[in-house]
């Protein structure tokens, strides 16, 4: 018996090591809607980008994989004798598929130097929407500047210098300082194409990020179709133009309404809602009314048709290089170098459940990671090779965290070391997920470390004490 004990100890030791290897990394990371946690199965997604300009207009062409054409957004559905809103945002994918696909791009001209080094991370402030510790919409609406002056109704992206305290989203710098920063170009231009809320009218939304995520002056391409007072839609399809007054829920749920159908409610194809009509269970009307955008907000148009085919979206956007609005848009000039970062939403996700890129340089006739091709005439021929961008799920990592003692690279940020120097997209995706479970993982890691020490010590006892006696014989 005593001769076999050391070998038994060896078997137990190796067996437990094997068990640890097989089960590691489980038991902590899981979806938790109450904490706004939903982790996508795929952590990175490729995006191809091309750019071109002709001295008047600048073009961007994006191509990315998406399992299906996410062209629907929230709807108003006749259910049990009443109209109800269906498709509100949830953590992760909307279960009914009622969230549109999107592509977004942030642009800077060097006026926000941190953006060129850290990309969109600089705009992720304290307690943003979708984070576990998000500030409430009421808090934002009641904020004297963000809510009452700027009209924000949720905690959105903002740039660091617009706050006097990095860790406090409410600590907004005085209005005069905000204007001074804007005049100096301290904002990020935000191009935002939406498969439901902008594509059917041939536009992408034109916004910018400064003290918050703000819209350019003018009128947006969509508004609500929900009459909250009457609890009913405002408009319905014009049967004379569309051939029906509503969609059918079953058709929508079964994917029978596609890009070739009128899946959107456009103002010029709609009439006033008829409350007296006989509505049937499952009658469905889009919650968004699409209309012609106006002013600076209408600057970005879709070039050609943005379509989903064979598992990929291909979207081309066009804008005047100089829109005449230098405090809302970044002005592109021949010979200029700019910084850009991209994001997509797919699989019915909204909010922070997107895939984002690290920053890239864009050159118009200058050396850069993305070279915009100069062309003559009305439309580019897109002969230049596309740049492959890796998009990643960013999890819950914000700028205050990255500049805190919890981030070992905070000193590198102070020194201006770019994010790419130390991190890859894959690494950032994993870090982003771990950030959502920091305390739980830290606790489990400490226990694992202690258990490993205990196992090694016990193995030493189990191996050596019987052998020592054996040697003594």
């Amino acid at each position: 018996m005593k001769r076999t004990l050391p070998y038994l100890a060896l078997v137990v030791f190796v067996g437990v090591l094997g068990l640890s290897w097989i089960t590691h990394g489980t038991g902590v990371v899981k979806n938790d809607p109450k904490r706004h946690i939903s982790i996508p199965a795929q952590l990175t997604v490729p995006l191809q980008v091309q750019s071109a300009y002709n001295g008047t207009d600048v073009y961007f062409r994006y191509r990315w994989p998406s399992p299906n054409a996410g062209i629907h957004h929230d709807v108003l559905r006749f259910t049990k004798g009443a109209w109800v809103v269906q498709g509100s945002a949830v953590p992760g994918s909307q279960p009914d598929g009622l969230h549109e696909d999107r592509v977004a791009m942030m642009v800077d001209d060097g006026s926000v130097p941190e953006f060129g080094r850290y990309g969109g991370y600089v705009a992720i402030g304290n307690k943003l929407a979708g984070f576990t510790d998000e500030a409430s919409g009421r808090e934002v609406r009641e904020h004297p500047y963000l809510g009452k002056k700027l009209g924000l109704d949720e905690p959105t992206k903002y740039l660091p210098a617009t706050r006097t305290n990095l860790k406090d989203w409410t600590a907004v710098a005085p209005e005069a300082e905000q204007q001074r920063l804007l005049a100096a170009g301290y904002f990020l231009d935000l191009w935002h194409w939406r498969a439901h809320r902008s594509n059917p009218v041939g536009l992408a939304d034109d916004q910018y990020v400064a003290a918050g995520r703000l819209s350019d002056s003018g009128r947006g391409a969509y508004t609500t179709n929900w009459d909250g007072a009457k609890k009913q839609p405002r408009l319905m399809f014009d049967p004379a133009k569309v051939g029906r007054t509503t969609l059918k829920w079953d058709d929508l749920a079964k994917g029978k309404i596609g890009q070739g159908d009128v899946y959107y409610l456009r103002e010029d194809q709609a009439i006033a809602f008829d409350a007296a009509a006989t509505w049937q269970e499952g009658d469905t009307i889009p919650r968004r009314i699409l209309r012609a955008a106006q002013g600076s907000r209408a600057d970005i148009g879709v070039s050609g048709q943005a379509r989903w085919a064979d598992g990929f979206w291909q979207v081309t956007l066009r804008r005047k290089m100089d829109t005449g609005k230098p405090t809302e848009d970044k002005i592109f000039r021949d010979g200029g170098v700019y910084q850009v970062a991209f994001a997509i939403h797919r699989q019915a996700t909204g909010g922070r459940w997107h895939y984002v890129s690290l920053p890239f340089t864009l050159g118009l006739g200058r050396e850069a990671e993305i070279q915009a091709a100069k062309f003559e005439g009305e439309a580019p021929d897109w002969r230049q090779a596309a740049v492959n961008v890796t998009l990643f799920y960013p999890g819950q990592v914000n700028w205050p965290h990255l500049n805190s003692a919890r981030h070992a690279g905070a000193s590198n940020i102070k020194r201006g070391v770019p994010v790419r120097y130390r991190h890859s997209e894959e690494q950032l995706a994993h870090y982003g997920i771990e950030a959502e479970f920091t305390d739980a993982i830290r606790g489990q890691w400490l226990l694992t470390m202690l258990a490993g020490i205990a196992l090694i010590v016990a193995f030493g006892v189990g191996l050596n004490l019987p052998l020592k006696r054996k040697q003594g014989h």
Partner: protein, 183 residues
């Protein structure tokens, strides 16, 4: 302190790697050279252990605890460094306590296995340290293939923790039982 840590870790790495080779060499050879190398083993392992403690202690000063324990790579590096130190301590104690008897019978192959595993732990610890200073080997790629993404923290679930605790108790009991029966 990062630079001092990098300098200091060279000592245990060199000593443990050499000790590992010596153990494997002794396990397969009864020749005079192998026996001569074996006589230097305990001093080698002892100096390796002491220099390992020094490198570990300085390593703890590179980042504040809050930073180290919040970084997946930082956590992994510390976890593997802790286990590597404890594990080579076990090899030192085993060779010290058993003397030349560890080369008798099947036990010599156990020693060779322990030495190889010790160098695997050492290699992983070094690779993770390399990640932290921006220079790393393809060992991490091999670990990915084997099922561990090194950008995620290595931890085990509660059930495995319980299994480790039970196993530890069994090992302690086996050791004490073996000692008592032999007495």
């Amino acid at each position: 302190m990062a630079a001092y840590h990098v300098v200091l870790v060279h000592f245990p790495i060199a000593l443990w790697m050499t000790a590992g080779l010596a153990i494997v060499f002794r396990a397969i050879s009864e020749g005079p050279v192998a026996k001569a190398v074996d006589r230097a083993l305990v001093p080698f392992l002892a100096i390796g252990f002491v220099s390992g403690i020094a490198a570990y202690a300085v390593g703890l000063l590179v980042w504040p605890w809050e930073s180290l324990s919040s970084s997946p790579l930082g956590r992994n590096h510390m976890l593997l460094a802790t286990w590597t130190l404890a594990y080579w301590g076990l090899i030192l104690v085993t060779r010290w306590m058993q003397g030349e008897a560890v080369w008798n019978g099947f036990m010599r192959w156990v020693m060779a296995g322990l030495a190889i595993l010790g160098n695997v732990l050492l290699g992983i610890t070094g690779t993770l340290g390399g990640h932290l200073i921006g220079i790393h080997t393809e060992v991490s790629q091999a670990l990915r293939v084997l099922g561990w993404e090194v950008y995620t923290t290595f931890y085990v679930p509660d059930t495995t923790l319980i299994a480790i605790c039970v196993a530890s108790v069994v090992l302690l009991a086996a050791g004490l039982l073996g000692a008592r029966r032999a007495a």
